[in-house]
């Protein structure tokens, strides 16, 4: 049902193409040559997203996805014809829904779209001259005293709005480029010498974090391989090539070696609105083992992974890939009689997490809701 809706969008696009020469209604894609260029880019991005979700780890890292999404949104802002902020937000929402639908588990796409929507709101408010604070979250007191909400329909036209929005998106892009370095810079505050650090699977953020600390301090890293994709192997070879003493263990040995581990540092796919994680499978076991031994669990997650979703949607939380990774086709005689599951993600509740390290510093899991309210507007939680 998701595929047919994108086909319908295709149909409307081509029909507006034909009508392009005659009428130009606001909120449609631009003229013939520029239109195909932009549509091509969007379609290429969508098919990339669809392909990259096989579970072995995306074809590109989350940071790259975030950058590409933001660049694409900037392009849409620049090339689509729009007259008021409301139109622009409509277009971005529509494109955003398509992008999220292409790969629902890749939440960075949705997060970037919400960031851009917030940027548009802010720029609009600034252009209108009203202070930003007034439009912030309505407290209960404000609701009572203001006597009804003023309908904000974003219909006013400002000449400088386009340039302002594009400039703000550029700032966002610069911020995205520096996230890994910002996180890695904090490494020495958290790692002392002769530590034993445990991690699971492969996270580029954690890799940069550990390599930065290894320049000045000597410590030992234990990597859990994270079957069946065994991304831990890649992480271990990369770390050991940089001179870090590394050991690869199987997933089954996580609890057995946990008593000698000083810290657990992991990356994650998404940080949920309650401070919990959607991370690679096996992370919940790791978190429980760390809790049992009172070992601190540190999550290195840049801000663009923070998502306003909550973990209570049972059927949309998990993602599964082909079970032949778990039970290969060589086991033919029993395959048909057995159910095999290969989930990709795990939910880690916020009680098991000690600290989040993001590009703007360290936070406790209880503070995540506040950060989220600063990044996204509540009306954008549902795209």
């Amino acid at each position: 049902h998701k595929i047919t809706s994108s086909c319908k969008h295709e149909a409307t696009l081509s029909s507006t193409n034909q009508k392009a020469a005659c009428s130009r209604s606001p909120g449609t894609m631009p003229g013939p040559y520029r239109e195909t260029d932009l549509t091509e880019k969007v379609e290429a991005f969508l098919s990339d997203l669809k392909r990259g979700g096989s579970g072995t780890g995306p074809l590109r890292g989350s940071a790259e996805t975030a950058r590409e999404t933001t660049a694409l949104l900037r392009r849409i802002t620049a090339q689509v014809r729009w007259s008021s902020a409301g139109d622009l937000m409509e277009v971005i929402r529509k494109e955003g829904r398509r992008m999220s639908a292409a790969q629902p588990s890749e939440t960075t796409v949705g997060n970037m779209i919400r960031r851009v929507l917030k940027i548009i709101r802010e720029e609009y408010a600034r252009s209108r001259g009203s202070s930003e604070e007034a439009d912030q979250q309505e407290s209960l007191h404000k609701l009572l005293t203001s006597g009804g909400l003023s309908e904000e329909n974003f219909r006013q036209y400002f000449t400088a709005l386009k340039a302002n929005v594009i400039e703000a998106i550029n700032e966002l892009l610069t911020e995205l480029e520096g996230t890994t370095d910002n996180i890695a810079m904090q490494a020495l505050e958290h790692i002392h010498s002769n530590e034993v650090i445990m991690t699971i699977g492969r996270s580029r953020t954690v890799e940069a974090f550990l390599k930065d600390a290894a320049r000045k301090r000597k410590f030992h890293v234990i990597v859990a391989e994270c079957a069946p994709f065994c991304q831990g192997h890649e992480m271990a070879t990369s770390l050991s090539k940089d001179g870090i003493e590394t050991t690869v263990i199987t997933d089954a040995a996580i609890f057995a070696v946990m008593s000698r581990v000083n810290k657990v540092i992991i990356g994650t796919q998404t940080v949920l609105a309650n401070g919990g994680l959607r991370a690679v499978n096996g992370t919940h076991t790791l978190a429980l083992a760390a809790k049992h031994h009172s070992t601190p669990l540190i999550v290195c997650a840049p801000m663009f992974k923070l998502s306003p979703q909550f973990p209570n949607e049972e059927d949309t939380f998990h993602k599964f890939v082909s079970p032949h990774e778990v039970l290969p086709f060589t086991e033919g005689e029993i395959l048909s009689k057995v159910n095999v599951h290969c989930p990709v993600f795990d939910y880690v509740p916020p009680e098991l997490i000690t600290l989040f390290i993001s590009n703007i510093g360290g936070h406790a899991p209880s503070y995540i809701y506040r950060l989220m309210s600063e990044l996204y507007h509540p009306e954008d939680h549902e795209l």
Partner: protein
């Protein structure tokens, strides 16, 4: 006579007093009525980092004409006190065939152990006992020797050889202790044929009582714990747990099983085959998915390699993890273990006494790429392939044995009762 009263795996070298072993205590008060035996000679296979111990071991093996198996690969520093062998270099390559010192049945057994063909504590014990039966029936007492003393001395090099092939398990240690006791108790006036017949009979009895009948008794008690509509989680391949599930299915209980497996041994596939053959509906996942599947589970059945005297359960690596996650989800954990696997050792973590398997097993080729292919060349990379781990007793709700259903902490009581019986 400083005899092995505990379940340690090393026999006293013949005619040699123990010198500077790092024993934890010296007091040996073996009173037949009070069992305060505290002989704790550390087995050599957990003292690999001590060069004196290694030298002594080498001398002993030389005397017994058994080749010594060498360490392989880079060992993780936390485990430098343990041995790490490679499966590609079995001990039998250094033996001449036919070996003058070691009985061929033992050579075959050693090879089967080191290559992993015979695996699982019950299977290893039964194979060992069958091989010993062969040895005993082929044995002839030399003149001027007593069967009861000479046979025990004949068995010592065999045990060293098997130890070199693969460190002995707790169940094997107990079986060997039993056999040695039976042999030493043969009255001297017995004729050789009668003695041998008696010994073979004893071994048969041991297998029948301690393994086969125990399994039946455990299955009977466990079936009370399996209700209709249960979802049972098992880990790896435990012969006892498989037996229980098959029995329960035959008795008509309706349940389904979730088999959890882990790399690199992937023993769960064997359990899966056996259960599916019986017709039990099964699900199969890897151990990293256990927190996904646990909300569906109503009970967890685990097998054990040994039960230690402080209540810890020594089992395949990953068992403690499953017990931990089950506890977090409030799912009852039941451990099934025969009493002959109870061990007098105590242990609190999985480091001091463990077994390191071939590290090359961790290497895997995915989509044509082998990430860890040249791990030996990379100077700081180590691979760790643990075999066992210990589960604390607070994770285990019940232990089902042939003596009944006991909590984990009652193991020393059972041991005391057993020892009084033996003496």
């Amino acid at each position: 006579m400083a005899d092995d009263v505990t379940g340690s795996h090393v026999t006293i070298p013949h005619g040699q007093k123990s010198k500077t072993f790092k024993s934890t205590s010296e007091a040996v008060v073996v009173n037949t009525h009070t069992v305060f035996s505290v002989v704790k000679r550390l087995p050599e296979h957990i003292q690999v980092d001590d060069p004196d111990v290694l030298k002594k071991l080498a001398k002993k093996l030389e005397r017994q004409q058994i080749p010594r198996r060498l360490d392989y690969g880079y060992k993780v520093s936390l485990f430098s006190h343990l041995l790490q062998y490679s499966r590609k270099a079995p001990l039998t390559q250094q033996l001449s065939i036919p070996s003058a010192v070691i009985h061929p049945a033992i050579v075959r057994l050693g090879l089967q152990y080191s290559q992993g063909i015979v695996a699982g504590s019950n299977a290893r014990s039964i194979a060992l006992l069958h091989a010993f039966k062969q040895v005993i029936s082929d044995y002839t007492t030399p003149s001027n020797e007593e069967l009861s003393r000479d046979l025990v001395n004949k068995l010592k090099p065999y045990i060293s050889f098997l130890n070199q092939c693969r460190p002995l398990s707790a169940s094997m240690g107990n079986a060997i202790k039993y056999i040695k006791k039976e042999i030493s108790n043969i009255p001297s006036q017995f004729k050789e044929d009668d003695a041998k017949k008696k010994l073979l009979n004893c071994i048969e009895c041991f297998i029948e009582e301690k393994i086969v009948l125990a399994a039946k008794a455990i299955a009977k008690s466990s079936i009370e714990k399996i209700n209709d509509g249960d979802v049972i989680l098992v880990y790896g391949c435990s012969s006892l747990v498989n037996h229980i599930l098959c029995e329960a299915f035959e008795k008509g209980r309706k349940f389904r099983v979730i088999v959890v497996d882990s790399r690199p041994r992937l023993e769960g596939r064997e359990a899966l085959r056996r259960l599916v053959q019986k017709g039990i509906s099964c699900t199969y996942v890897l151990i990293s998915a256990v927190s996904y599947i646990l909300p569906e589970v109503s009970k967890v059945f685990l097998g054990a390699h040994a039960l230690l005297a402080n209540g810890y359960v020594m089992s395949r690596v990953g068992t403690s993890q499953i017990a931990l996650v089950a506890k977090a989800f409030n799912v009852p954990v039941l451990v099934c273990c025969e009493t002959y696997k109870f061990c007098e050792r105590v242990q609190t973590d999985s480091f001091v006494s463990n077994e390191l398997d071939d590290p090359d097993d961790l290497i895997v080729t995915r989509k044509g790429e082998t990430q860890l292919k040249d791990w030996q060349q990379v100077p700081r990379l180590g691979l760790l392939n643990l075999v066992y781990d210990v589960t604390p007793p607070d994770f285990v709700d019940l232990v089902i044995t042939d003596l009944g259903m006991i909590p984990c902490t009652s193991v020393p009581v059972v041991l005391r009762v057993k020892n009084v019986d033996l003496l």
